[in-house]
Every structure is written in structure tokens, then in C-alpha cells.
């Protein structure tokens, strides 16, 4: 049974990559989105100090993240969803989507970090912590947005609904990330930042647990 679960999970995960690879316009769109946003930020502010760098960076990551994840349920038709429903356990499906979106978001945040560093400079003083923050951001955004996009995908106005549902919910995560990122940029002195990391991980654990428990109810149509 265990190997069966792992097999289903890996097949679904591979399926996500294959879909993404076949519809290359979607991923290219997101990549372009990130790069154009980086340039908009750079063009609209003459000089980017470390403080502004921090705020703009997280805004870019937030918007890119929402746009990248929102399609994860919308892009597949209702009949195909029904097909999956008969084949696999819903918790395996959502975990495959979450893992896939985490990998996607990690790639996107790294891309955003790279391109942003090229145009606006790189004020990060503690790269290790900053990369950890990027990973935690990808994980947190992926869990929350994947779950909420599964709700939003059921409605007709899914893009608006996605923004309404996710912005307030993600705010505690985003504020903690901003704080941790400020620490890694040495904008604030905080020796107790490990507590923030634990908080963030705790929020992620709660979100994952909720997604697992609640997803079967969203799924069932």
C-alpha cells in the first residue's frame, strides 16, 4: 500500500511537470511576468535602497506566486478532474500539487532574486538566511495558494476570488517573511529570529493539515 501511495504521488508529480513542459506558454508567461515586474520596479524608482529593495522584492514574489499557482486547478478541465477523482486519493493529489508548486515557486523566487540583483543590486548580508527565507516563502505560498486556488477554481470569477481569498490569509506569513528578510539584509537587529522561523513553520504545518483534511470536501462534486 505504501509503495502504491508513493507511486501515485510520483506519477502525479511527473504529470504536473509534463503538463507544464507541454504548455510552455504558461511557464514562459510567468517568467516574463517576473522579469517585467523587476524592470517596472527598477524603472519607477531611481534609487533602490535596501529597505525599498526588501519591500519591492516581496511584492514581486507575492504577485508572481499568486499568478503561478492560480492556474494549478483552473488549467485542467472538469472531465479530467473527474478522471483523477476516480483514480487517486485526494490527499495524494493535493500533496503532489503542493510539492510541484513549491518547486515552481522556488525556481521563480530564485529567478526573481537573480534578475532583481542584476538591475537593483544585491544588499543581502546573510545569504544563508535569505535563501532559507526564500524556501520558507515558496513553501508557505505554495500551500496556501494551492489550497485556495482549488476553492477559487470552482467559481466563475476565479482570478478575482483568488486575490480576495489569498491576500488576507497570506498576510501573517508575508509579514513574518518581511521581518526575517530584513534580518538577513541587516535592516533590523534581531537575535531571536529563530522564533520567527518556528512560527512560520508552525503556520505551514497548520495550513498543510487543513489542506489535507478539507481538500476532499472541495474535490467532491
Amino acid at each position: 500500500m505504501n509503495t502504491n501511495f508513493a507511486n501515485q504521488f510520483l506519477t502525479l508529480l511527473r504529470k504536473e511537470f509534463v503538463i507544464e513542459f507541454r504548455q510552455r506558454y504558461a511557464i514562459s508567461g510567468i517568467v516574463l511576468y517576473v522579469i517585467s515586474m523587476v524592470f517596472v520596479v527598477y524603472a519607477s524608482s531611481i534609487k533602490v535602497g535596501p529597505k525599498e529593495w526588501n519591500v519591492f522584492f516581496w511584492l514581486i514574489v507575492l504577485f508572481a506566486g499568486i499568478n503561478a499557482v492560480v492556474k494549478s486547478f483552473v488549467q485542467e478541465s472538469g472531465t479530467r478532474q473527474l478522471y483523477y477523482y476516480q483514480l487517486v486519493d485526494p490527499s495524494i493529489l493535493i500533496s503532489a500539487k503542493i510539492v510541484y508548486n513549491t518547486i515552481l515557486l522556488m525556481a521563480l523566487t530564485s529567478l526573481a532574486y537573480g534578475s532583481y540583483s542584476v538591475v537593483a543590486g544585491n544588499p543581502v548580508k546573510d545569504p544563508g538566511l535569505f535563501l532559507l527565507v526564500l524556501f520558507l516563502a515558496s513553501l508557505g505560498f505554495s500551500i496556501a495558494f494551492t489550497f485556495l486556488s482549488s476553492i477559487a477554481a470552482k467559481a466563475s470569477n476565479s482570478a478575482t476570488l483568488m486575490a480576495i481569498l489569498s491576500f488576507p490569509v497570506i498576510l501573517p506569513v508575508l509579514l513574518t517573511l518581511l521581518r526575517l528578510s530584513s534580518v538577513s539584509l541587516r535592516l533590523i537587529q534581531d537575535t531571536a529570529y529563530r522564533k520567527d522561523i518556528i512560527n512560520l513553520v508552525a503556520i505551514d504545518v497548520i495550513l498543510v493539515a487543513l489542506a489535507f483534511v478539507l481538500f476532499p470536501f472541495i474535490w467532491r462534486d
Binding site: 489550497f147 485556495l148 476553492i151 470552482k154 467559481a155 466563475s156 470569477n157 476570488l161 480576495i164 481569498l165 491576500f167 488576507p168 490569509v169 498576510l171 501573517p172 509579514l175 513574518t176 521581518r179 520567527d196 512560527n199 503556520i203 497548520i206 487543513l210 478539507l214 470536501f217 472541495i218 467532491r220 462534486d221
Partner: protein, 348 residues
């Protein structure tokens, strides 16, 4: 029926007692509020709710307190009016820790008003050229205070009379949590066994919870206007509360975005559980990470230990119960309205 009557009685009691019971006598300010060591200080004390002329003037005692062991007693105490007291101090030549400056607390013990304290009332600076005086810090310890028992609320500088808002602002959040909790219970019930009643009850309780949230935010803004200087100062607690209300506002938009009511009800129930679990980080975890003026945030004592005395508890707890019962009552009426609308729609 009994609980509706209880709610009305408790709320009338909370409003009447909450607004009419007086504050304890306190010290509003002193003039002058700074002095040099070794000098003779003539101070005027301005009281609030005080009756200094009652009782024997000889029984009034005043101290400038450095810490729990060291204090200077005041002499030549004269009552100027019920709210003004004149007193003289002979300040010692040096500070006990040999430092440059410090803040002293003022304690007044009055035979009928009892003890009142003004924290950090006087700023004292070391005067290096001062000739040594006879006074010292420990010759007259703070003891044999007049203890007066009465039914009154604590006097706190900065918030003064607005301490009464405790009976209205805080119960709103208790009621909100209760309403949202009941709503989540109905949502879980709906997911395990779908039927219209649970869904409508969940909606009614969410609406009532949101109403309490708006009232809590409004009473909080009124309080902030007096205690913090501005009604909205982008304090993290205010921001996160507004965000929490947005999370619940999204609940109604989500419900309305589906053509099939059954689907909307199911997804709204799922979202309700999700929203409730995001309420705890928003209201109680994040505000503690950032600097805030609100009690319970970093650097501030949590509510209850210092701000709530036994007299206040006598009004505070009934008020919480009263508002929760009122909320259940409102939600009940709202549920019946939804039910009637549903029946009317079915007949069309």
C-alpha cells in the same frame, strides 16, 4: 426565553455599573515635575476625584519614592482645595545609586481617599554643587498607609475614565470568537451531513461575528483616540484585526460566487474552517511579533494581571456573558430571516 432575559439584565447591569461607578481618587499631575538633589522642593499635587479637605489634614502623608525601600517624606502639607495639595520636600544630596538623574514616584496617603500613586512623577537630577543636607533616602519609609475599601474602578494615568471601555471593547472580541466558533461547528456539521439548516446557521453566526468585529474595532478606535492620541495609528493590532475582518468578508463573496447554492454552501463551509484557523495567527500571534501599543503585545503586559481588579471583574464577566447571549439572540433572528427567505424562494 430565560437566557434572553438574562442577557438583557446583564447588559443593563454592565452599562449602568460600567458608566456610573466612580474612579478611585488619583493624582493627575504635579508641578513642578523636576528638581535638583539637595534642594528644598515646594510641590503642588493636582488630584483627580479627590476630596483632600475631608478628614484631618495632619493624617495626610506624602512620599517621593525611589524604590520599595527608599523614599523621602513630605512636610508642611496644606490642603488648598479638594483637588489641590501643597507639600514640601527636603531632597537628599545624592541619588542612592550615585547616578545623574532618575524618576521618582509620588505616593499620597489620605485618611478618607486612601492611597494614590503617580508613577514617574518627578524627574530628579543630581546637583554636584549642592551642599550636603540633613535629609536622606531611608529616614521615613512608606508604611502605615490608609487602606480604604470602596466600590470604585482603578485610576490609571493616560486612560482615566476610558477604563470603562473595558466592559464594552473586550467583550466584543469574546463574543466574536464565540460566534465564529459556533459558526465553524455548524460548518463542520454541514460537511459531515449536508443540510440547509446547518449552512444557514453558520451564515447567521458568521454575520453576527462580523458585526461584533466591526463594533470591537469601532470601540477600539474610540479608545485609541483618547489613549493613543489617534483613532487609527496603523498599529499592528489594528491592522491585523482589519485583515481578519477582510478574511471573513471574503466568506460572503465566496458564497455569492456560485450559481448552485449547494456548491456555494459546501465551499463556504470549507473556507469558514480555514478562515477560523487563520484568525488565531492574525489576532494573537502576529501582533506579538511587532511593536504595538495594545496591551498584550511586545513589552506590554497582557490584559488581566494589572488592569483588572476585583471590582472591575464584577462588571467585566457579566458583560462578556451578556454580549455573548445577545449575539446568540441576534444570530437566531438572522437564521429565522434566512429560513423564511429560503421558504419564500422555494414557493416562487
Amino acid at each position: 426565553m430565560w437566557w434572553k432575559t438574562t442577557s438583557v439584565i446583564l447588559l443593563i447591569y454592565a452599562i449602568v455599573a460600567g458608566l456610573l461607578v466612580p474612579l478611585k481618587p488619583g493624582i493627575d499631575r504635579v508641578s513642578p515635575d523636576s528638581a535638583l538633589t539637595g534642594s528644598r522642593l515646594d510641590m503642588q499635587i493636582h488630584g483627580y476625584n479627590t476630596w483632600y479637605s475631608r478628614g484631618n489634614t495632619a493624617d495626610i502623608r506624602v512620599w517621593l519614592q525611589y524604590d520599595s525601600l527608599r523614599a523621602v517624606a513630605g512636610t508642611d502639607i496644606r490642603v488648598i482645595s479638594d483637588t489641590t495639595l501643597a507639600v514640601s520636600f527636603q531632597l537628599p544630596t545624592t541619588l542612592p545609586d550615585g547616578g545623574e538623574s532618575d524618576m521618582l514616584n509620588l505616593i499620597v496617603s489620605h485618611p478618607t481617599d486612601g492611597v494614590s500613586l503617580l508613577p514617574s512623577a518627578l524627574e530628579i537630577e543630581a546637583d554636584t554643587s549642592a551642599s550636603s543636607s540633613a535629609a536622606n533616602w531611608t529616614d521615613n519609609p512608606v508604611e502605615k498607609l490608609h487602606v480604604v475599601r470602596d466600590f470604585s474602578y482603578p485610576y490609571r494615568n493616560v486612560i482615566y475614565e476610558t477604563i470603562r471601555n473595558t466592559y464594552f471593547h473586550v467583550p466584543m472580541w469574546f463574543a466574536l470568537m464565540f460566534m465564529f466558533l459556533v459558526s465553524v461547528v455548524y460548518s463542520i456539521k454541514y460537511l459531515t451531513r449536508p443540510d440547509e439548516t446547518s449552512d444557514q446557521k453558520a451564515v447567521a453566526f458568521t454575520e453576527t461575528g462580523l458585526l461584533f468585529g466591526l463594533l470591537g474595532l469601532t470601540t477600539g478606535m474610540l479608545w485609541a483616540h483618547y489613549a493613543w492620541g489617534k483613532a487609527w495609528s496603523n498599529d499592528i493590532k489594528q491592522l491585523m484585526t482589519a485583515v481578519a475582518l477582510l478574511v471573513y468578508a471574503a466568506y460572503f463573496i465566496l458564497r455569492a460566487s456560485f450559481d448552485e447554492p449547494e456548491k456555494g454552501a459546501r465551499l463556504a463551509a470549507v473556507y469558514n474552517i480555514f478562515a477560523f484557523s487563520s484568525l488565531v495567527p492574525l489576532l494573537y500571534i502576529v501582533p506579538r511579533l511587532f511593536a504595538s501599543l495594545h496591551p498584550g503585545a511586545t513589552g506590554n503586559p497582557a490584559f488581566g494581571s494589572q488592569d483588572l481588579d476585583n471590582t472591575m471583574r464584577l462588571v467585566f464577566y457579566p458583560s462578556i456573558i451578556g454580549f455573548i447571549l445577545l449575539g446568540v439572540w441576534i444570530a437566531n433572528i438572522r437564521y429565522r430571516i434566512l429560513r423564511i427567505q429560503q421558504l419564500a424562494d422555494d414557493q416562487d
